[in-house]
């Protein structure tokens, strides 16, 4: 079997440390050479972010993996997979993802004609500010660049003003004050030099964990014999998903250390951003806003019985109920 696989951002650690070795080496070896893989990434193909899963569903390639949030245009119910601020550690995030998995599988089957193989994390999306802040409350009145619709809505509900700036323009925008704060992965912010143009780091997952979903075209999946299906499914969980999650917490700790100088930085020179600790009161308020405004808003957008299903699964795990 030759599989055409489209990976996530080629420059990020998830691809280089986990995706590429798994598809190029681990899986072909485990299948004794029965399965061969042609691996590229969506940015190398210059695919539009919203096109990745729809094209997978049409069978343009066999396997694709990217941030689930890129696909919410076609599937607003998918936003429930990655609700910001509910999971503060990697373990909590994984528990959330596991609870959401049956819903995600249904969504991918119905919307994208695909079978979900694995869900792995990008590092959490934290807040960089070129403005003095002491906590979440201080975002009120600031101009914040968010990625993803639910984060933007949460920021609006917190009294911040959402500004649309593309990733590449963020450093300039921060430096000049076009935005006061911006949300991205701690590691991406470190390697893209955001520490040069911002002073304060709020290591709360305000943008969620950016779950990366690996899925296979459903016709292709159904065409495989069950032994091959089992092999792929088992291999991808033990050799891709598990290790990716296992390193996620360490990665966050290391990235924060690199940005603030509190602790060892294995990636290079440590920087000296001010680490802002969120208080329990901050978090309580954020949860109120989530359950009172942002999640009900999502329930309406998603329609159907998605809110009930969410309450019964993810909601149970994190102790939140959509009213």
């Amino acid at each position: 079997e030759e599989l055409a696989v489209v990976g996530s951002w080629s420059s990020l650690p998830l691809h280089n440390q986990y995706e590429a070795p798994f598809w190029n080496e681990t899986l072909p070896a485990a299948s004794n050479g029965e399965i061969t893989v042609a691996l590229t990434t969506h940015n190398q193909m210059s695919l539009g972010l919203g096109d990745i899963y729809p094209l997978l569903g049409q069978g343009v390639y066999d396997v694709a993996m990217t941030v689930a949030d890129y696909a919410v245009s076609d599937a607003p119910e998918l936003e429930g997979l990655d609700v910001p601020l509910l999971a503060l550690t990697a373990d909590e995030a994984r528990a959330m993802v596991d609870a959401a998995r049956p819903m995600v599988s249904d969504i991918y089957r119905d919307r994208f004609n695909s079978h979900v193989l694995a869900i792995a994390p990008y590092p959490p999306q934290v807040v960089f500010c070129n403005h003095e802040i002491a906590g979440l409350d201080d975002l009120e009145g600031l101009k914040v660049r968010a990625s993803g619709r639910m984060t933007a809505k949460l920021l609006e509900a917190l009294g911040a003003e959402g500004v649309n700036v593309s990733f590449a323009e963020v450093p300039g925008a921060l430096q000049n004050g076009v935005v006061d704060c911006a949300v991205t992965g701690a590691g991406s912010g470190y390697s893209a030099g955001w520490w040069e143009v911002s002073t304060h780091l709020l290591p709360l997952p305000l943008g969620g964990w950016d779950s990366v979903v690996t899925a296979m075209n459903l016709d292709r999946w159904n065409g495989l014999d069950s032994a091959t299906q089992d092999l792929i499914q088992e291999q991808i969980i033990t050799n891709f998903e598990d290790p990716a999650w296992a390193s996620a917490q360490d990665a966050l700790v290391n990235d924060v250390a690199c940005l603030t100088g509190n602790g060892d930085c294995p990636a290079g020179e440590a920087r000296s951003m001010v680490l802002v600790e969120a208080t329990d009161a901050d978090l309580a308020r954020a949860r109120d806003v989530l359950t009172g405004e942002v999640l009900p808003d999502w329930a309406e957008r998603a329609g159907g019985d998605w809110a009930e299903r969410w309450n019964a699964s993810v909601g149970q795990v994190v102790g939140v109920t959509i009213e």
Binding site: P54, V163, N164
Partner: protein, 182 residues
């Protein structure tokens, strides 16, 4: 007759292009307004999203105008060396191929629009723009381009059939020649 119709098409597409240009001007004005509002601590929000849609629609609707103004870049190294009949054949062949490709593009754009329609897709942004609102006019632009391309090809073929090479040169020739004719 053909020349007359080509003239009319040119005039029609000039009006379309003017509308497209006005849309772009409007878009620049909105971006500017957003910049000014940001200085006083406010913002329209979503101007870059709207710019993207404007660009997509402007692009598809501007294509036919550029076609009729002979603006799509062609390489005429061999073509210029051919006699009038040969040049007309180069042009006709090029138009037939172009029409085929553009018709194919229009056909392949349809599933994109259809998907947004059936799934009720909305943009992954706070504006939640229903994509069908912007993809329908974008798709219509490609249909327009495909239709124009086909009609111009037929008119030019008819001119060539009547051995009116000067007329076909004006309709589907290469840019430099068009200028020297004036």
């Amino acid at each position: 007759m053909e020349r007359m119709m080509l003239m009319r098409l040119r005039r029609l597409n000039r009006s379309v292009a003017l509308l497209v240009g006005l849309m772009l001007l409007l878009c620049a004005a909105v971006v500017l307004l957003d910049i000014i509002l940001r200085q006083v601590g406010s913002s329209l929000g979503g101007t870059d999203e709207i710019s993207g849609y404007a660009m997509a629609i402007a692009t598809s609707w501007g294509m036919a105008y550029t076609l009729l103004e002979l603006g799509h870049v062609r390489i005429d190294l061999l073509r210029t060396r051919a006699p009038a009949f040969g040049r007309a054949m180069f042009d006709l062949f090029s138009m037939v191929v172009m029409t085929g490709v553009v018709v194919l593009i229009a056909i392949k754009c349809w599933p994109v629009v259809a998907r947004s329609w059936t799934q009720g897709s909305t943009a992954n942004t706070p504006l939640e723009t229903p994509l069908i609102w912007v993809q329908a006019p974008w798709f219509a632009g490609w249909l327009w381009f495909a239709g124009m391309s086909a009609v111009v090809t037929l008119l030019a073929a008819s001119l060539i059939f009547r051995r009116d090479f000067e007329g076909s040169e004006e309709a589907i020739g290469a840019f430099a020649e068009q200028d020297t004719l004036q």
